[in-house]
């Protein structure tokens, strides 16, 4: 297959399988379908340098294992995995489908390794995940590079700068895809289609439907190409939906992050050791409710609900060495008054907030590594752990904004990854994998590395099913 397949030629070809998307889920589907003998085209909306969707920013995959396996230590069985999932989703999951995914995750690392993905022991600062998650050597972009190289070697036709704008559904069958490939309109025909084109978090106007103008102040942690075009098109054609359309996974990140693609480095881990105030200089939530990994995902929503969607974490010199270094420098000052001026807050109010907090701190034995019970008394809202007076200059401030990771809305699928219509019947030649269907299993919350698990497991199923259909 020529590398420079021009848009004009695309109209003339009928593919066995067309895969929409270029992240982990799409690549797993494309590779699997190609290995099953299908002629596969992969349609990636981004240019080559930004290929891979949100997978570029990931770094591990959560995998079940009954005994130590490669980089995975000890054991992580089906029931414990399921309990973890049940807890984070608060029941917004499908037990049968979830357990099927969990069981299939056991074989994922070996399958991945055979297709070029390299693993490494868990990273410093993430040691708590060494038992449950397999880390990719070099992170998600290295994984994406490995899969693209494998797909190319196998003969998958890859088209970059190619955005699918519509999926023509008619009488329970996908007839054709409408796309813009390198600027030119194309009608593409395929016997089977896998959609793996992600969520819609990068589509500001869609986000505004749920969040109003606040959505303009959201920062998208991952790819700017997750616009949900295919998702919206399918849902408008009577395809069944899952997941709360108004919800998204949001964490608090540094407000100075770029609008898109800031990835991991924009996170701020200082919240438990700080007080967080809004633009009026007032505290609004217990910063020490629980250890940060268990709470960081609620702070995106908390900040999103404050005026102008901004907040400021304030620490003193004692807290400086306690958290992972952040990419943007702290805003520092010798006094709280001066810090308030630098942050654009009212100095008198911030001084009063800090003084009120300091007065409420009860003496205790501070321990940043566990729930230490150092708390405030008579303060509303309270700080229930790691509460220490803020009194040692220099004082530091970090601005916070909501950073959106992904959306939950998706298409409903069967256990075979087949897309379902509102009347419950499947679309005969349409499968889905990755974020576009993750809401079937992960309807709420998040479990580190589980998005990659869903993408890998359902990508493989979708690729296999699509290839089988196309070849018959």
């Amino acid at each position: 297959m020529p590398d420079d397949l021009q848009p004009g030629v695309l109209d003339q070809i009928t593919w066995d399988v067309a895969v929409v998307g270029g992240g982990n889920a799409a690549l797993c589907a494309a590779i699997t379908a190609r290995e099953a003998g299908a002629h596969v085209v992969l349609l990636e909306a981004s240019p080559r340098s930004f290929r891979g969707g949100n997978s570029r920013h990931t770094r591990n995959l959560r995998a079940m294992h009954d005994r130590p396996d490669g980089v995975l230590v000890e054991a992580y069985g089906e029931d414990e995995y399921w309990d973890d999932l049940l807890r984070v989703t608060g029941g917004q999951t499908d037990e049968h489908m979830a357990r099927m995914t969990i069981r299939a995750s056991a074989g994922a690392p070996a399958w991945m390794a055979a297709r070029g993905v390299a693993f490494q022991p868990s990273l410093s600062g993430t040691l708590s995940l060494g038992r449950t998650n397999a880390f990719f050597l070099g992170g998600g972009k290295a994984l994406v590079n490995a899969y693209f190289a494998t797909a190319e070697r196998l003969g998958v036709q890859i088209l970059y700068d190619t955005e699918v704008t519509a999926v023509a559904l008619n009488a329970g069958l996908v007839r054709e895809l409408t796309l813009v490939s390198r600027g030119f309109p194309v009608t593409l025909r395929a016997r089977a289609v896998v959609v793996a084109s992600g969520g819609f978090q990068a589509n500001t106007s869609w986000m505004r439907e749920s969040w109003g103008e606040a959505a303009d102040n959201f920062i998208i942690r991952g790819t700017p190409f997750a616009k949900g075009t295919v998702l919206r098109d399918l849902l408008a054609q009577d395809v069944a939906q899952v997941g709360d359309p108004t919800q998204c996974h949001a964490v608090a990140i540094d407000a100075r992050a770029p609008k898109y693609d800031g990835g991991i480095v924009t996170r701020l881990d200082c919240v438990p050791f700080s007080i967080v105030v809004d633009c009026h200089g007032q505290r609004f939530y217990d910063e020490g409710e629980d250890v940060w990994p268990k709470r960081y995902a609620i702070w995106g929503r908390l900040v999103a609900q404050r005026p102008d969607q901004i907040a400021y974490a304030i620490i003193d010199a004692k807290a400086d060495p306690l958290f992972m270094p952040s990419v943007f420098p702290a805003i520092r000052a010798g006094t709280i008054r001066e810090l308030a001026e630098k942050l654009g807050l009212d100095p008198a109010t911030l001084e009063a907030t800090v003084a009120g907090f300091n007065a409420a701190v009860v003496p205790g034995s501070f321990d940043g590594a566990r729930l230490d019970g150092c708390q405030t008394e008579g303060l509303e809202p309270p700080k229930t752990h790691w509460a220490r007076t803020i009194d040692t200059p220099p004082f530091s401030g970090y601005p916070l904004r909501p950073g959106i990771t992904f959306t939950y809305l998706g298409v409903k699928v069967s256990e075979q990854a087949q897309v379902l219509m509102n009347d419950g019947r499947p679309v005969a030649n349409l499968w889905a994998s990755g974020e576009i269907m993750a809401g079937n299993i992960l309807g709420r919350g998040y479990l580190a590395g589980f998005g990659m698990t869903i993408g890998t497991v359902f990508g493989r199923i979708a690729g296999e099913q699509a290839a089988r259909y196309a070849r018959n």
Binding site: P121, L123, F135, G138, P258, I264, P321
Partner: protein, 338 residues
């Protein structure tokens, strides 16, 4: 420190602060685990990290912040420039370092040519006609270039190299401010240096040309480095035979100096040719373009030394030997930088 040096250091610092907040590359090489020991980076820390980098480029291709991302993280490039700056800063003697800084490629090649010319001149003056006649039998080499000249220049060159490298190393060591170093750490460092563990990319090899992985560069570097060591051993054993045992060169094919020299010469030829070839086909984006000349000059000098040595060996009984001998000795007896 002039302005570009400050810019190089600032960029290395910016890149390391991004890397330290990410750490996805921790499994690739020694740079990233060393990086995590810091929260901020002093100049000496950055110099040390830059000199740990083996330019394998794995971190560049795995980087979610590599260009065209607005952060534009390019660790291999930032560190190559900083490494070059440390070579200049800590090299001895400083005037020579500055000379190379301005035009390392030309200076290296011109110096080599000048030394060759001097050797040729010496040979020509010793006995007219020497350069064009076959010289055979015991002490044949010394009839072309007198033993005193050959040994004298060699001793000077070796002495100079040892002195310059020692002073450079001590200066560098001091600025690093290394307080306590355990024997285990030194052994690990030596092991890593001899195996080039850090050109292993965490096990899969490194990015020699592009996103794909291979161990070609590592193997070629081994061929070059061990080839060089074998040649050095050949020289030492020959010197021992000539000066201590009183057996003058040339030596028979199956003598230790010739076997070592032949293997070493082949290693050098294969290594330098391969590394030069890699430079031609590699993706230039993660490289520091303005250092390319110096790299190539070094490869060319090593290649010339090896090639002329092999030819001199093969044709040592012909009239080409004198010229080849002078060309062979020229590049290796001229001062190199770094």
């Amino acid at each position: 420190m002039h302005e570009t040096d400050a810019a190089i250091l600032t960029e290395a610092n910016r890149v390391m602060e991004i890397c330290n907040a990410c750490r996805y590359c921790e499994g690739y090489c020694a740079v990233f685990p060393a990086m995590t020991l810091h929260r901020s980076f002093a100049e000496a820390d950055l110099n040390h990290l830059a000199n740990l980098c083996h330019n394998c480029k794995a971190c560049y291709y795995a980087c979610q912040y590599a260009p065209p991302h607005p952060f534009g993280v390019n660790v291999p490039q930032a560190f190559a420039l900083l490494r070059d700056e440390t070579y200049r800063r800590y090299a001895w003697p400083a005037p020579l370092a500055r000379l190379f800084e301005r035009n390392g490629t030309v200076v290296s090649l011109v110096t080599a040519l000048v030394v060759t010319a001097v050797l040729l001149l010496t040979a020509g003056l010793t006995a007219p006609g020497t350069l064009v006649h076959a010289a055979v039998g015991a002490r044949a080499f010394y009839r072309v270039i007198p033993w005193a000249v050959m040994a004298g220049v060699a001793t000077l060159a070796l002495g100079y190299a040892v002195l310059a490298m020692t002073i450079g190393a001590v200066r560098y060591w001091r600025q690093c401010g290394s307080a306590q170093v355990t024997t285990a750490a030194i052994l690990r460092g030596v092991h890593d240096a001899f195996t080039l563990r850090n050109l292993g990319g965490g096990g899969q090899g490194c990015n020699d040309k592009d996103e794909s992985f291979s161990t070609t560069r590592r193997l070629l570097h081994h061929a070059m480095a061990y080839g060089f060591l074998a040649c050095f051993a050949a020289t030492c054993t020959a010197a021992f035979a000539a000066d201590i045992l009183g057996w003058p060169a040339p030596y028979p094919w199956f003598s230790l100096p010739v076997i070592l020299g032949t293997l070493g010469g082949l290693g050098l030829l294969v290594g330098t040719s391969g590394l030069f070839g890699l430079k031609l086909v590699t993706d230039p984006t993660p490289l520091a373009r303005r250092l390319l000349g110096g790299d190539i000059a070094l490869l060319v000098l090593l290649w010339l030394t090896a090639a002329s040595g092999m030819l001199a060996l093969g044709w040592r009984q012909t009239s080409a030997m004198p010229l080849l001998l002078a060309i062979h000795l020229g590049p290796q007896e001229s001062p190199h930088f770094p």
